[in-house]
Symmetry: C2
Subunit: 435 residues, 2 copies
């Protein structure tokens, strides 16, 4: 039974305009835009001026409009619009990851109370149907982990740093010139956009409601060309990854951090503005979804797939969230990290359980070590601009009962270090010298 | 509203046993196997003998059993079981692509009449949720093409031919030793398994019901090490692709053929027994799904995702098939193909609209040309063991109004050929010599 949709559109930026044009070309969608609410009435528009209004009420108060598509930047205003729309019996489609991630409890309650569907596939990885697949297909206990490149701007910048040897600021500039980064890129490059998306993924992957601010997240601003050079030497690439990993005890670890990925990883070949997600399952091994994660038409396309699904009364059932035995978030695990810095005392070595590698040259120094997640999260050195933290390929360490290998591995690392270098090590801390 | 499922299982081979063990470990699925129907009662089993029967009626006649999971090899028996089960009000999950592809009209009618859900995600690309995504997410006009590596055995063989320089029969032997090819590999290597899967994809991608035998399909048996060597020289790989391509006029071209793929294609890196599908959409560009396409647990995992969906009354709605304006299959287009052979007269040159390249050396000869699809499909030379046909990367040619370039391109090819070779060309046909 197909429902005819009459759309009220909030926002007529890049994506909004894309949607308008696609709908014009796609009568089969059985959906048309009746009215568009914009902020700036003075701005000249490419289409019939009679379609526009600056008054929310013209859309929200129109009983014929049964679907609100919300595509504005301002998260607080977006929340107001979405809330009012659902309370007044309208279905809602949104792409506003910030608004959604920051207000999950309220939005879940709103859906329960209003019984209206609220879809937001475009909010994570744009055109890649990751939310829909997590919700519908991976709706059982078999999902071991979700690891994604969910931010196109940072992936573009990292690709340019690695492939063209640019430093961070040059690469950022290039991304801005080519339209792959905002003029104010803070949300992207500091990992905030990615952690917003991770928050949404956590809900649909595991039924976990988290606050984005509470999840450990780091961006790419502190990455040093030295780190990219190390990656190159070792055949690795640096990717900003958003991860949710179910541990053996059933709890879930979640974080956004740069990571060294190996050639064998499907994420290795994800270049420029593309997004991708690797889903690890218990029985089917790894699955990989890849596509465009940003841009006018990929985002519009995801919005329209939601619109299309609403014709058939589709809604997220949030089965995992409704499940009484859903997993909880944990901070009780360890991460294997690479840390580079200018001088040893920039990092608290005592935070680490053990150190597996250390290296020093005239440019910079680095270590590879295993650290409790809580200590990494609390570390003030994590946020020093001169300190760069990157996950190792096998990052999550659940069991450190093999801790006794610590000393041995350090001895090996030490002798390896002595063999490989003929130069004097500057400022090598006492505890490492004495191993 | 969650439904408790009581399963009657037909078949206890690799996948059936996998499902049994997973269900034992997954009480949250709310599904248990009550009875298992097998053919050979004498065979010793790893589990409680009381679970087994050889009598269909014990399962089909049990009112408590509300789901039949059908996993037997014999397509004719499978059809009987599926039909009886649905007629008697039971939901059905099957992985039998041959049975499904060969009986689509009957199975669609059966679903309409019985109102029972019939799910078969495992039948195409096993663990990759391609049917579900085509059915639910790509349920609009935006799907331009579906191109997949849908057969793990042939992909394994091609990988070994290319990476290890093995000839076809050696590579097949290796695949059999490692469990990636059946002892009777005919269905796989002749492209029949792939065309069965393409038939199912056509239904869910475009609402088209086709007979697999009517679709042009070629396997990999005729591929020559020479072709793989050419691929290597040009930085290409050979993949057996199943494709459905929507042409500009809205009709759909469909075929299974080996194809040279470029490094830029996501299919290029799909190695060994893996499967993958590239979905090209109008607005979101290409999307890529990748995962394990065969094997006990990947297949069991897909079957269990269907079981899981049935808890919530999921069913395929076949919206595209139900749509009155659905596209139709066409044979009115052209393909750009590479053809290699031992002597020129093995191939009907007059079948081609034009020839873009030709090459001859002491080992073998090849041409690259554009041929009407109907002529390729009807060509007896297509099936000569000594003739190898491989699609070029840009295979589908819709418009040949640029046919006037024919002569020019041939002249260029001819002079290029003369420049590059100093040797006498054996048996070069008159029409090419005279260019």
């Amino acid at each position: 039974m197909e429902k005819k949709l009459v759309i009220g559109l909030f926002g007529f930026g890049t994506v909004g305009e894309g949607i308008y044009h696609i709908l014009q070309q796609t009568p089969s969608l059985q959906a048309g835009i009746k009215k568009i609410c914009i902020r700036n009435a003075a701005k000249s528009r490419s289409i019939d001026a009679a379609l526009f209004t600056t008054d929310y009420e013209v859309l929200l108060g129109d009983p014929e409009i049964n679907l609100i598509v919300e595509l504005i930047d301002d998260a607080a205003e977006a929340l107001k619009i979405v809330t009012a729309a659902m309370q007044r019996g309208k279905a809602v489609v949104s792409a506003n990851k910030k608004m959604i991630a920051e207000n999950l409890p309220q939005l879940l309650q709103l859906q329960q109370q209003s019984k209206m569907p609220f879809l937001y596939e475009a909010s994570v990885c744009a055109s890649i149907p990751v939310i829909r697949n997590l919700e519908e297909y991976y709706d059982n206990d078999f999902l071991k982990s979700v690891c994604g490149i969910v931010n196109g701007s940072t992936n573009f910048i990292l690709t340019k740093m690695e492939e063209e040897g640019l430093d961070y600021s040059k690469a950022l500039q290039l991304a801005q010139q080519q339209g792959f980064a905002e003029s104010n890129p803070a949300l992207d490059v500091r990992g905030i956009d990615a952690v917003n998306k991770l928050t949404i993924l956590l809900l649909h992957a595991y039924g976990i409601v988290a606050r984005p601010q509470q999840l450990l997240h780091l961006g790419i601003t502190q990455l040093h060309p030295y780190d990219a050079a190390r990656a190159g030497e070792k055949g690795l690439k640096i990717k900003l990854t958003a991860q949710a990993v179910k541990l053996t005890n059933g709890t879930v670890a979640a974080f956004v951090l740069p990571q060294y990925v190996r050639n064998e990883s499907q994420l290795y070949g994800v270049r420029n503005e593309f997004n991708a997600v690797v889903l690890q399952t218990t029985f089917a091994d790894k699955q990989f979804l890849y596509g465009k994660g940003a841009g006018r038409y990929p985002t519009a396309s995801a919005v329209l797939s939601d619109v299309s699904a609403l014709r058939y009364q589709y809604r997220y059932e949030y089965r995992k969230w409704n499940n009484e035995t859903k997993p909880t978030l944990t901070e009780d695990f360890y991460l294997r990290v690479y840390v580079s810095f200018n001088v040893w005392n920039e990092v608290e070595l005592k935070d680490f359980e053990w150190v597996e590698e250390f290296f020093s040259d005239d440019v910079r120094q680095y270590l590879v070590g295993v650290i409790p997640f809580t200590k990494l999260k609390a570390a003030t050195w994590l946020h020093k601009p001169s300190v760069s933290v990157i996950l190792c390929p096998d990052a999550v360490v659940e069991d450190i009962s093999a801790r006794q290998i610590r000393k041995k591995s350090l001895e090996l690392a030490g002798s390896h270090f002595m063999e490989k270098t003929n130069k004097t090590v500057h400022n090598l801390p006492q505890e490492l010298v004495h191993l």
